[in-house]
Symmetry: D2
């Protein structure tokens, strides 16, 4: 399993080019960035060289299509999605991810059928380029009532949704924070096959009652109460070989320098990989 | 458009064999019955002859699979669905229909994804035999709150669901009663293509505020306030050529003899087809 | 059924803008042009106005994706396909068509599976914009051996392929010339439902043995031996309401002026529509 | 990876019940048998107990649907397929396999589209029960010309076909004999993900020029020239955890007793698992 970083939790790290260099320097193997932007700015060959020189690959791109609002907005994003997918494929990245808010102001059943169709279209376009679509279920309890109607938030609901979408290249973005806040278990991970997981996020949670854990109250790996050793061990046991990417969402931006935050992140990964018997 | 009958509204009409004979005698062209049962009791050749001798075909079979409850129950019905479809195809019937209750006690979003996948499977099995699946949206307002959570009830929601199901052989069961109770218009019909309609039901409604119209308070065609002439004219204009089938759901069974009810039904069809300029 | 024109058979008619104007002047209702190009040159509002002022709509756009060669070439066209589809939808066009050569230098079975997947992807992208994909089977016998291995060329084979592609928005581009050179009958048309036809081409054939009829030896409607009256009558009877578009492929460009060729085309349409009882 | 047996290569081993007992006795973990037959003869609970008592599970059932001949024959098998799948699921088996002959007397392109649609339908029915469909490519050269037209026989062609079928639950039945006779490499295995493999067959080949190796000239594992150690090592490295099932097809039935053949099979597995570093 590859050690990965997103920009969340690294402060003002600057350009993606600098992010790549610093990630590599600190022993991280993947970064979540915009593949198309990297190529647009550098050209394909230089973008490839930049990644290779820093021993870094792209863990996942984000789904740029807005699939939660109007049909017009949705359609307007599809041509760019094809370009995003082409760029990701050209740089060897095979994952594209989006998150699922656990509530909606739309009528739930109607929103579900529309979103099912739209995410299927996104998966089909990504699939033409060999890219997989990862859906991130979101566990913190406060978000379940942040909009009028409950939507989907557990791993099992999301797997059912993936079945409804019905494309071979759709799976989970599996985030330890959402696994924890849902009260899911190690057995829930062990029941998965690796192809059901497109991407993994790793975050830690404060020592609070689980219902009070906030989505933007995340801690660096190893600094909180989630059993991240067990989490990683279970993922490794089922054969997951992809990226495990840190994404520290916090209410206020961290004050330390990016270099300090990278050190802190590295120390966190070392700790939890060791706890998993993987270091 | 073919004049069709279901058993609902015809009293104690007896066996399907008698139903077929009486439907033919009264000038109806289709009946909604269980194709497999007809073959099981009579053999394929005799079943075909019975229909042919009475100038009657099967308008639609009903979906025998229980797709609203447990996964176990759902799966248990799939082998019979294949047999139902084979029987229907052998008798020249190309439609199979089910209805959608407008509310559910399950969490709406989760029920939607499960039902999407299950109805897709049903459509796929039916499609292997050249049979289409018709989904009936259900309009009466009182049913929208008869279970805990709102589901889908309008034509437009149902068309969106058909898109989410994503199989080429799924369309609407279009019932005048549900069109009326939803407040849909002639323009809503005129915006359809005929392949979006798998089957049509015809019923009339009492002169009540539309919010008070009950699902089991239906009238024979021409005896109520629905613009059935306009309804049929619009269906004909878009090129619909299938069955228009009466299905009179009432709180209490009608007291008259089946023969009298057939006469009444025939008179109703004559009246509304004439109003549509189709008689 | 709408009277439609492509540029093939109209000589040096100039820009699409002039084509639209001349088509409208001669009473044609649709033109097959590149929707995206029209918008790119004129802007969306002016493009809409140009069509409306000339009482012309777009019959179909052509599929710009190269689905017959390398995977790289295929993928490179998908972003533009989304843009083409968006442009077509913005101008009210709902059809996009491609043709199927009846032989291939690739191994037939392998080419079939690759092309099935690629055309499905094209259909999925088009479907996101409400556009249908029409597949044109190609009948002239000489093309069946023009490449090493036989592929698909009959209506029935193409319908089977559409089933294999499996998307709801795929149907036939039905060309009278290919219907004729395949020896298909009026009964073959009458067995279709209108949703199986995305677009229609009309052409006439010289009085030669059918095996000797060349793909680029086409005549204007009414000038040859094809029963175009029967052809149109059958299409109308099944409920087809779309465009019937002339596409005169000839070995040498016609010598007459575009105005004269438009007159000739109009006379041909008048003759065959009259023969069909539709004028 | 589980050590598995089919009946092929075990002589007159008698009933499936005896087969299960003897497989267990000789340390094999899976058997390929007809799940429905086992339940029909024993009842579900006794069938489960029989397997459990012998520490054996079912590796894969065979696809009972005839998908290569007439549409009528195909459809006639679908109800039984649902029953087969239900039986397999009830016994914990998640695989169903069929083989692909590398040539066909049908026109190749047309057969391909029909078979694509039919295998998709089979996959959809199996998928409703959580069962995967494995497609076995067949490598021996003599079969490529045993029928009039070439079809598909390599791993890569078959993966392309799986993409064309387009269902999430379709993958390869990967047989060492077909891997070898196709001249595929260890790198070809290493490029796969485990979810692309539904089932594995293991067989060895005589020391002949690869073009002369016959489909029914197979040897027990470790008795021939295939690098089965490398084969197993590569499968293990990519994370395949399913069954590796022997299937010795020979021109003449082996003369030895089933017990002796089981010993011979066990010795073969011991040898090649050891060569793979897995014993």
């Amino acid at each position: 399993m590859l050690r990965g970083l997103s920009r969340a939790g690294l402060g003002s790290i600057g350009s993606d080019e600098r992010f790549i260099a610093l990630a590599g320097e600190h022993g991280f193997q993947t970064v979540d960035i915009d593949a198309k932007g990297l190529i647009d700015r550098n050209g394909l060959e230089a973008a490839r060289k930049l990644l290779a020189d820093n021993n870094v690959t792209i863990g996942s791109i984000g789904l740029s299509v807005e699939w939660r609002q109007s049909e017009e907005t949705f359609r307007a994003g599809l041509a760019k999605l094809a370009e995003d997918a082409a760029a990701a494929a050209a740089l060897g990245c095979r994952s594209c991810c989006t998150y699922i808010l656990p509530a909606t102001d739309f009528k739930a059943a109607h929103f579900t059928v529309i979103a099912t169709r739209r995410l299927r279209t996104c998966a089909q376009i990504l699939g033409a380029y060999g890219i997989r679509l990862g859906l991130e279920f979101v566990g913190p309890h406060h978000l379940r009532t942040a909009w009028a109607n409950p939507f989907l938030w557990t791993m099992h609901e999301t797997l059912d949704w993936i079945d409804a979408i019905g494309e071979p290249n759709v799976g989970l973005l599996f985030d330890s924070y959402h696994w924890y806040t849902n009260g899911h278990t190690l057995a829930d991970i062990e029941a998965l096959t690796p192809d059901q997981i497109v991407h993994v996020h790793i975050n830690d949670a404060p020592d609070l009652p689980v219902e009070e854990v906030l989505d933007n109250g995340r801690l660096y790996p190893g600094e909180g109460v989630i059993d991240l050793g067990g989490f990683l061990k279970a993922l490794n046991a089922i054969g997951y070989k992809g990226s495990v990417t840190q994404e520290i969402l916090t209410k206020e931006a961290p004050a330390a320098s990016s270099e300090a935050l990278l050190e802190r992140s590295k120390a966190g990964f070392d700790k939890v990989y060791q706890a998993a018997g993987l270091a």
